[in-house]
Subunit: 344 residues, 2 copies
Amino acid sequence: MQKPKATIFNVAALAGVSIKTVSRVVNNEPNVSDKTRDKVLKAIGSLNYQPSAAARILSGKKSYGIGLVYENPHEFSYVGGVLNGALKACEDEGFTLLLRPLTLPDPNIAETVTQFVLQTRVDGLLLPAPLSDMKDVLDVLREQSVPFALMAPTTPVEDAINIICEEEEASFQLTLHLLELGHRRLGFIKGHPDHGDSEKRFSGYCRALEASGIALDQSFVRQGYFDFESGRRAAAELLQFEIRPTVIIASNDDMAAGALFEVREQGLSVPSDMSLVGFDDTPLASHLWPPMTTVRQPIVEMADAAVRALIRTISGEELTNRTTDFNCEVILRQSTAPPLDSGI
Amino acid sequence: MQKPKATIFNVAALAGVSIKTVSRVVNNEPNVSDKTRDKVLKAIGSLNYQPSAAARILSGKKSYGIGLVYENPHEFSYVGGVLNGALKACEDEGFTLLLRPLTLPDPNIAETVTQFVLQTRVDGLLLPAPLSDMKDVLDVLREQSVPFALMAPTTPVEDAINIICEEEEASFQLTLHLLELGHRRLGFIKGHPDHGDSEKRFSGYCRALEASGIALDQSFVRQGYFDFESGRRAAAELLQFEIRPTVIIASNDDMAAGALFEVREQGLSVPSDMSLVGFDDTPLASHLWPPMTTVRQPIVEMADAAVRALIRTISGEELTNRTTDFNCEVILRQSTAPPLDSGI
DNA sequence: TTGTAGGCGTTATCAT
DNA sequence: ATGATAACGCCTACAA
């Protein structure tokens, strides 16, 4: 059915050389005279030759493939960034990105990942949170000797590439800023308990309260799961109090959007009646109205860096920094303002 | 570096059969006694054997790979749906999805696609708009005899799988609804001129105006490009008129979000001062406040169907319906209401 | 600088 | 029902 593709033999024949020489040219190996190289290049061009990835993988040591295992998102606010970054790095380096979406929780996750690795023979794996914290998954990869890069692990892992971000500090700064604006009752919506990020964002908030001598009010802390609906629910709970918070800090933008929705639904306005804050600076944050104050995390760059580090490891380089710490940045937009004096 | 993987030979040896028999079991071929099958299965399990995708591709006729070529999005509102649908279908059918993001316009697009197809040897290709309308790309695929499925081509293509949607009609119905609400000045933001969808959505709008005896006011029609910013700009233009529209129809949700942003930025409220409408029913539409009236297009299902049809074609089945037409549905939410009587 | 031989792990073909 | 053997297209190792 498929049109027969030109092979290395066809090229060799047309150029009047051996296949090994063609291989040398294709892979930019040394020891080919300019004249021969030219002939081969010409033959390649006229035959429209492209080496077969499969043959390459089967024959060689590397597979030129990086696997991305991630939790199947309803929205691509965060994963979309990871995807873009990883795709870009792969393309630049001549690698292929293989996707393996997962539905969590998955009791057989270790097995699923094993199968994925065995089938595709990927050279390395990129694991965004919360997979970066799943010990059994990491163990599988160790057993298979497949190098892996972790995005936002709770704690950097010794034998892995770790890509992290100063989130605790950013959260601290953000909270301080809100306190400076005059807020004293700060609602907080925690992220998914399985994500390392959640804890850090929360602890920065706690630290800022403590540093300012303000008691942590547990009833103002609600559990969310990083999705719109959970943010909305948590906000609804926070709005029920007689004396309610004057600001809500949501642990990511999706939940902040949910909170914004609920606040508006109840006829309140942002930021005059309620200030709102998110995390990640996904496109959503700047597209909502009012645009949301958030903590920017360079997701695309982080994924890009993760994949490049992975590829360097695969290529045998010794990395000096196995863990890279990115900067976060508090982005002030119009969803935050000083609170109205009014009590309720 | 990598731990050596178990091969078909190891399994055959352990089970005491030939590799061909193992192959039969793995591929669910007939002519294997239950007893033998059991032995083989047991061996596979104990060795944790997974067939190598590369060897399979190299040896067999099929590559078990579907390519998805798409325009690199800043946001994954639409592409995210396509991705999810395609991924699901691939997983169910034991195929792999290979991504090839593109930055348009790309003068070498035909060549890029050729290389992609030649390297990966994908068995089929999924092309969302606007790639579904690029004749040179289609020609490349014909030349390589690679079957392809088109999402939202302007006109169904004879030798392709076409997945389309009743958008013209939906747009017509939507516009009628707005007219019934009492709107008489209807602003329209067109989609990217390269997308087939754009024209259909616009023509449904025109038809409804015509059917209602309302003259099309060209100054109320603005060009957009399916992204947030272009929607915002177009809305800004529409808001400048002394006598401005009472509703803005944006050709997708991202642009509607941009329009909403601009309207709010100018201190107007939705829907009391201005009604707003989008297309696609991406998660964004229901997460904005107010939630947006939109035309739902079953993106995930469409992509899923496209890939399944592709796989059936690859497997040699003769499809009866090479073009599948999905239904669209007008989803009324709170961004639309009757216009205020006031003129300006 | 260039070429030859062998093997990578499957599926396909043809026997038995 | 089962098996032997030849591709598949490339890379690695080792010659020349």
